[in-house]
Symmetry: C2
Subunit: 157 residues, 2 copies
Amino acid sequence: MRWSETGAAPCSIARSLSVVGDCWTLLLLREAFRGTSRFEEFRERLGVARNVLAARLRRLAEHGVLERVAETGGPGRRGHYRLTAKGRDLYPVLLALLRWGDRWLADERGAPMALVHQACRHQTTPTVTCSHCGKPLEPGQLRARLSAAALSGTTQR
Amino acid sequence: MRWSETGAAPCSIARSLSVVGDCWTLLLLREAFRGTSRFEEFRERLGVARNVLAARLRRLAEHGVLERVAETGGPGRRGHYRLTAKGRDLYPVLLALLRWGDRWLADERGAPMALVHQACRHQTTPTVTCSHCGKPLEPGQLRARLSAAALSGTTQR
């Protein structure tokens, strides 16, 4: 079985990885969140081969994570890409990766960047918390059960 | 440039991806959080080729994400693996992927599983929030700056 086929399994982690599990894809999304939109900008900033980049952009557009925006300037110009709502909603995935790297992969000088939350103007550490009680979610504290929708077979999104 | 070389760039997202960006790796970690520890269990549950699985387990052990635990039973038995503190700290990454898949890749019956937070006994949606004010972190609300450690060149972890 290839990993991409795990997208059919009833698990949202596997499904998500079938869209964004690729390493270039996640770095490309990082650039998109930094404001990069043009093909050549992505290529220069990531140092990625053109064919790889074109394939990843196309795939993300097919999945509705990026949308291609036509560019004025005539034929031969490549369009640019922007994040859709579905794409912007991947921000927490990147923040979770960032926090882990800051904590466990920093060099002797510490984390490369400090993050300031503009809303409260304080330095922040992105933290995954419970939507109900607000406390951080730790391994072993979550129990998964088949959702009501899955059990009833009713249509619900 | 290969994606694995982006680990040298001063970005914690790239560094994290250089360790766990692989798709099989993240699914393997999902299984580890579900309690899977033995080579054969990983293989059966993921349907992954033995050589691929062995390479991924070895890599995660080298990076200190899993530790190999010797098994009694004599030669020829493969050991089993358990998450280290560094590995358990990847839980938020998986939760962020889970939440995105639940929201955007659910089928017509809705998300496959519902999560209950044992500490507060309520159904929960993992949410990435600010460690200072507790509000969800949205794109555009964070400003990154070179950390004090990076600027001063002092040793700090």
